[in-house]
Amino acid sequence: MMLLEARNLHLWRGETHVLRGVSLAVQTGQCLQLTGPNGAGKSSLLRVLCGLLLPAEGQLFWRDLDCTRELGPLQRECAYLGHLSGHKAELSARENLAYLCGLRRRCSSNDLDAALEAVGLAGAAQHRPLRQLSAGQQRRVALARVQLQRSTIWLLDEPIANLDIQGQELFHRLLASHLKDGGCAVVATHQPLSVSESALVRLELQA
């Protein structure tokens, strides 16, 4: 089933023509890998797909409905992980998650426990302010948030950056189970993704 489709996206940032007629389609259970040199517009494309950035031209479809102007349906089912984590350093992992996920769907404390343990953050670490966690651990909290939001589509910008080996394995496991449950994803990364060939779609953006 066709989930996300974009047709002929154009975007300018200042004088540079960042997106030049980009089109893509993502089916259920598929993962689209965005590659391309820095500045080719990978981040901009992701931000357009999640409705943060309005394209100058082009259309977006979610479940075959035109959502270029009315992004509600798409945004309610999408989880976006960009360069900014969206977390507060003064708050603990649990407080951050309870806030960001709680706004979308009710999260009980067991949901929080399960999500944080799944990313290898257990016991006292869950309650310490994020400031005291390492960059890798904070990245895992972000992965926990994406997973806990139970969104149909994941839009991830360099999710594997500053993750150690176990962290990367953890990410591949989370992505695989998400795709298996009928979700889909658009991931901007150069590392290989452990996704079966049938489920992987590639899109190369030129500079």
Binding site: L52, L53, Q75, Y80, L84, G86, E90, L100, L103, R104
Partner: protein
């Protein structure tokens, strides 16, 4: 979708989180209140320490100082959340942005507006207002501070992400606060003079209701544009 939280749960989540953040950041939220005291003490120093004469300038001192202190605190209202990506997540989450940002502005009002309203009568007494008039001053200041927070929040959202937003925030919002200042100070003058302030109070309440209804829409639209 039994899972989606009700509006009140969202508001509670947002307010609890913001209050917890403000209290964890130490006395940062106290600064505008001290600023308010500093400004009001300038009036006797620069005008006249004679209480009977100071009474004439007391309403102006109260309202101008309340406005400036409220604006001071507003500049940071959205800045931190913009820098660390929280606004981004809110804009992407599909939750009603104007409602969540209204809750955020309500927290700002609780931390800045309300304390100002509670401190102002005491300050008014120091500025020569007769003691029996002091309780009466609470109502206009409460109504006025709600509108000041909302209009200031529109300014803060519009100047989000600008290098020197502070001055521009003042320039954008001050003309918009003129009705509140006129009706608010008008009511305070009559209260201090012991007359009935029904007229200006009703107008002040009308402006507050208008701001409560329309401001969140402008705030959400401005944040969506500036979070690009």
């Amino acid at each position: 979708m039994s899972g989606t939280p009700s509006l009140f749960e969202m508001a509670r989540l947002q307010m609890v989180r913001d209050l917890r953040l403000a209290l964890r950041r130490g006395g940062e939220w106290l600064q505008p209140l001290v600023f308010f005291l500093v400004i009001t003490t300038l009036f006797p120093l620069t005008f006249d320490s004679q209480l009977s004469r100071l009474r004439d300038v007391a309403p102006a001192a109260l309202w101008v100082s309340a406005l400036l202190s409220s604006l001071l605190a507003l500049e940071l209202l959205f800045r931190d959340d913009a820098l660390d990506g929280t606004l981004e997540q809110l804009a992407v989450s599909g939750t009603p942005l104007s409602w969540v940002l209204l809750a955020k502005t309500a927290v700002h009002w609780l931390l800045t507006g309300l304390p100002l309203v509670l401190m102002a009568p005491v300050v008014a007494g120091a500025l020569g207002a007769p003691y029996e008039a002091i309780p009466g001053l609470l109502l206009p200041l409460a109504l006025g501070s709600i509108t000041l927070s909302l209009i200031g929040a529109i300014g803060a959202a519009l100047t989000l992400g600008l290098r020197r937003g502070g001055v521009l925030l003042g320039l954008l919002t001050l003309p918009l606060t003129v009705p509140v200042m006129i009706f608010g100070a008008g009511a305070s003058v009559r209260i201090i003079a012991g007359q009935s302030a029904a007229g200006p109070l009703y107008l002040l309440a009308a402006v507050a209701v208008l701001a409560l209804a329309l401001a969140p829409l402008a705030i959400a639209a401005a944040v969506r544009i500036n979070v690009e």
